[in-house]
């Protein structure tokens, strides 16, 4: 799947608390969220010719491993600096985050990456050249500038990514997030996505929560 196939949903931002000043309570046009892409990880690995690790074969009998790719677009606006964005997931009914990528990006860099699934059903990101991936790979066919990114709570039900900008700069551009979710086979599990942003305006930091056009703060509900 190419980036051009992505369906984007514009999000509004609403202040978390009303302050005693003239800051806008709502902001539009800063964030957009890509329609999540979901695959069966084991099938994806097998399609790539990889045999599952023996330990994983045992787990695979009782669990589903689902690959999820999330996309977030952060557009700069005049007089606003997006300093921080958090992508929070809540997994229910025994599901947990098996693997996440990117795990940690320490510095802003220019990269062109592709994601693949290893025999341990972990997401792997790699730099790619001009030739782009096979069927087993989710490739990002564009160049992006990555802010400082950290993933939290792998192997837990509340995984999150946080994006922070260096001093005086802002988080902007398109960012892809990859995750494999382990869920009990007999349960129908969900991954709920919410987004927070901290935006600097006239030197002050304001906290916002993203909302869909129907005003729901739950940005996506993914069945896994």
């Amino acid at each position: 799947m190419n980036m051009s196939d992505l369906v984007w949903h514009d999000l509004d931002l609403a202040v978390e608390e009303v302050d005693r000043t003239d800051a806008p309570e709502e902001l539009a046009g800063v964030l957009a969220f890509g329609e999540p892409v979901v695959y069966d990880s084991a099938a994806l690995a097998k399609a790539g010719g990889k045999e599952l690790d023996p330990e994983l074969q045992l787990l695979n009998d009782q669990h589903r491993f689902t690959y999820v790719r999330l996309a977030l677009s952060i557009r700069p606006q005049e007089n606003l600096l997006v300093r921080f964005v958090a992508l929070d997931l809540t997994l229910d009914r025994g599901a947990l985050c098996w693997s996440m990528e990117p795990m940690k990006v320490e510095q802003e860099l220019k990269s062109k990456t592709e994601a693949s699934i290893s025999s341990k059903l972990k997401v792997k990101l790699a730099e790619v050249g001009a030739e782009l991936g096979s069927d087993t790979k989710e490739s990002a066919e564009y160049v992006l500038y990555q802010p400082v990114i950290e993933a939290f709570n792998v192997q837990r039900a509340d995984p999150a990514w946080e994006l922070r900008a260096a001093a005086g700069k802002q988080v902007s551009g398109i960012q892809l997030f990859h995750m494999v979710i382990k869920a009990p086979k007999l349960e129908e599990c969900r991954a709920l996505v919410s987004i927070r942003a901290e935006i600097m305006r006239r030197g002050f930091l304001f906290s916002y929560r993203a909302r869909r056009s129907d005003r729901r703060e739950e940005i996506a509900r993914i069945l896994v």
Partner: protein
Amino acid sequence: MTSEITELIKELFVSLAHIRSDLEAERFDRVLSTADAALLLCEQATSDWEGVVSAAEGSIAANAFVAARRSGDLKRSLTYAQREYAAAERSAGIGVRVRALNNRGLAYHELNQLVAAEADYRAALRLIDENPAEDLASMKSLLLSHLGQLLSTRGQTDEAMPLLLRAGTTKGLGSPFVQLFDPDLSRDNDIAMAAAIAGDHKKAEAIVRDAIARSTGRNAQIEGILVCNLAEILHQSGRREEAIEIYQGAIELHRRDPGSSIELATDYVNLAGIYMETGNRDRTIECYKSAWDAARKNNPRSLVALKALWGLSINRMVQKDYERARAAIFRGLDLYEEMRPDIAITESGQSGFLDAYRSLLEVGMYLALVGSWPDELRSLIERGKARFALERLARTAERPPGEQRHADFDDVGMNGLALDFFVGPNATFISYQYNRSLGGARIDVRETEMAAMVDEFREELLSSSRRAREGVASARLSRLLFEKLRIEFSGVRYIYWLPDGPLWYAPLEALPVEKSAGTSDQMTLGSVAPASYVPSISVLAALRSGATEAPSRDEWHVLAFGEPCNDGAFPPLAGTARELDHLYQLSDDRFKITIRRGAEATRENFLSLAPFATHIHIAAHAVADFHSEQPYIVFSGHGEQQFLRTGELAAMKLKANVVFLSACSTSVGRKSTGEGVMSLARAFLWSGCRCVVASLWPMPDTAVPLIVESFYSGLVAGLSPAQAAQQAREQHRLRGGTPKSWAGFQVLGDGDTWSERYSMKYFKTETL
């Protein structure tokens, strides 16, 4: 017309003809002696005969003014300019009055009496604007240029640039007199300087060289300025050796002209800068010394004199010649003190000179630490801070200036800790006083770096990110500021924060301190002791000397405003109603309270009621940011009528002991060099209030009422404002409140109103 007056007029015009030809021939002594005699004749005239005598007197004085300043006698040039103006006042001609105002302005300008010069330039411009029929366009351009250059000298670049552009100039020649003599050269020079700024040094050089060729032999001062500018262009394009040679040429030219002492000093300062770059210390010192000698010859009261003394002091210090370095520093400091009243009456008007003054102070602080003189360090820090505030308070208190005193140990009180910061262009200095101990330290962090660290600290407090919770930036700033001080915070009863520069924006009480043994909670400085922020110890002393004893509770008259009804830009604030309700319940016949809410919470009601209140509480929207010149409170109403701005507030006469500004960013505004922040909180202090609780960022409407309730409960129970604020903050923090709601409130001014109880004097009396 009588024959005497005919004779007199004839004689005056003959004198004027002589004066003009002597001036053309640069025979200045002859101009002055002829002018003096002619002016004496004017005084003896019994009639003005249709203003002819006045017109002649004005022309004679104007020519004498030019001769006096060309011969370097600036004081005498002012006398002639004043005489010209006196004659012009008797004349009906607008042009004559405008020219006289311009000349008197120039004379003041050269004597560095900038307040008077500015007044004259502006008066002349007003006259031109009021008389559009007169053809005074070129005079207006000249005046705009002079005023622009005056403002530029004072560091008011934002105001200066539009004037200079309107005047049709870009940068000027560094002297307001060039246009008076040769507008063509001035224009060429401006074009060249604009090209240099744009990086086209080749073009700039060609134009200036051509202008020099045209000016040669006509006027040494103008030629010298052009040569000096050529040297600067060469320096900027990296041709250092050539620049040195050309500067020497400019020096030669200016030395020949007795009226060019300031230009000569400027040449030397610029040349010294190049030698300093090359590491030639002896030449550098020699040039700075020559600059100082040149500057003080006619009039040492100038910015270039301060720069020369700074250059001398820093280079002497590097040579370890501390004695002479100190001599230069203190000469410079005294010089600024002496000229300060003549520079400007506004804070922004002082900024250019204050920057030079603070650079000198910084070198002095280095020396004070080298010599282990903490008392001198403290005194230097105090000298560089809150000058305007102190002058303002002294005026408000209507005390003679001689009675202003510097603070002593009693102002800090028993177990009180004063932390006095100076954030300079190259380093930060801290002076601390704890009981009878004085100490100090230098941190090699300059203002720009400190500002970045403060920004990180603020953002960390307000951010919900996981990394922010680790408190890395807070710990780093805390370590940086305090690790050299060796203070045992556990014994501290009260902290006086005396911030400087970017530290005014830092909630210093939220900085962490090392955990005490056996405790698990991370301690903050705010949990150690109550505290307040004061511009300087001297300001604290002034605030106290002007204030009466804190009123007892039954004498309180609390004035509270809240639940404002505003237009669309400002959403309703439900939390403010809760604050008013709590205050009303607390009063319960214990003190008088006046509440204005909803449509009654208007600016007009505030203006009429506030002067009688002992306590003021305002729960509303406020608008301020880091560049605001005039932050404002938003009362009920629509449009501009809702707003109460700092300028209007500061002009009020209030007597409140405590003001609580339960609104956003009320201790934020534009930073003013050495003065602090031009915030709403400061405006309340200047209006006569003793202590203000204000906020460093936008405050959440839901959390603030909790803080306010704790604060007033403490105050009613007998705590001082700083103690009540500390209690409120700590309660909220321990209840799990976010730093955004508890760390942003700070107490400014004299928050320790019960200080007598703890002061050393009282303590001594008790123990004796």
